[in-house]
């Protein structure tokens, strides 16, 4: 796979896990969702802050 797609694919899979986990299980599932969806947000913040 082209290196261009490695990070987008990983972040996409994380997002899907985050979207589903809290729907499939309470408690632990909620925590998995929070962490999995916080990572794409953190990536955005990290790269944007670095370029400023």
């Amino acid at each position: 796979m082209s290196p261009v797609w490695q990070a987008p694919l990983a972040l996409g899979l994380l997002s899907i896990v985050g979207l589903l986990a809290a729907l499939l299980a309470d408690g632990f599932g909620d925590v998995v969702s929070w962490v999995a969806l916080a990572i794409p947000v953190a990536v955005v913040v990290w790269y944007t802050a670095r370029s400023r």
Binding site: L11, G12, V44, Y47, T48, S51
Partner: protein, 382 residues
Amino acid sequence: MALTATAVKRWYIVHKWTSLISTVFLLLLCLTGLPLIFSHEIDHALGYSVDPPELPETGEWARLDDIVADAAARRPGDAVQFVVSDADEPDLWTVILGETAAAPEASAFLSYDARSGAYLHEYPLRQGIMYILLRLHLDLFAGLPGTLFLGVMGLLLAVSLVSGAVLYGPFMRKLKFGALRRRHSGRVWWLDLHNLLGIVTLAWLLVVGITGTINTLAIPIAGYWQVTELAAMVAENPATAPYPGTGGVDRALAAARDAEPERELSFMAFPGSSFASPGHFVAFMRGPTPWTERLLKPVLIDGASGAATDSRELPWYVATLLISQPLHFGDYGGIPLKVLWAVLDLIAIVVLVSGLYLWVKRRNVTFEAQYVAEAGRHGEVA
């Protein structure tokens, strides 16, 4: 997947036009959706909703027949349509009334303490800032046509996201992930930001956009279920006698719990309402897990005898709608999930605004030509 210059240009035209047509409406949806994520909390803060008082938990529950009779007495002339129980508020019953049992709009939401049966509060319908935001988000104050129009905007968003992702490949060929270049005007930086934010939030935006479009079909989906599945349940289990007009609610609830012992009531549709028949109650029972909690199971109850005569799984299209609701609202993982929903929504707003900015700031050369030239410089286009 190597794209030819012609293919890049075509994908670019798709991306530009699907985005240009939908951007204004998507901005409106993102802006109104932001406070709507927290509508439960805002309603409480504004006093639109109340919590039941602290009471010792005795395990005793008030009679629903008494609560429904009290609600009917408070709204003489109106008919009880539904009794609703929120999974997160087990000590609360909400009685929904309408001008008639089958009226499409509710006339009152009355909440009761499920333990003492005490009347608590009337939810103010069709007023306040949250109502305005909800209508703008739901149907632009234009009813079902407005809702369906917004559904089409959701589809355009999906096409825009897919075409944008296709363009991301050739564009990033010679760039590192997350590169935000500072050179020339600020335009290149905004283009890089648009690409980074768009690709990082792609999956979330696709899911929220597609589930939003599915939600716009709620009324047609419910209508189709009513005239097919519900009609068949009623036709195969005709009412033994006309419903006497009042009472029988506790008996119906007990019958529904006996029929589905693993499940608890989500809402009870009253005889004559749009989700029941003139002679039947229908109890919509939610399951015990987060997933089955959404996938309700309808139990048909004879209004006169109180016997549960049928119960069925909902068909795939209703199940799809019911699962699409939490995935659009973000209300299934506590406050942290709602905060993440809000942040991702804000990022989506930046993607929309930066996309619009890039189009407004295009130079005399068409942006397609610039894009192809840009991709060509990175060695993609031979």
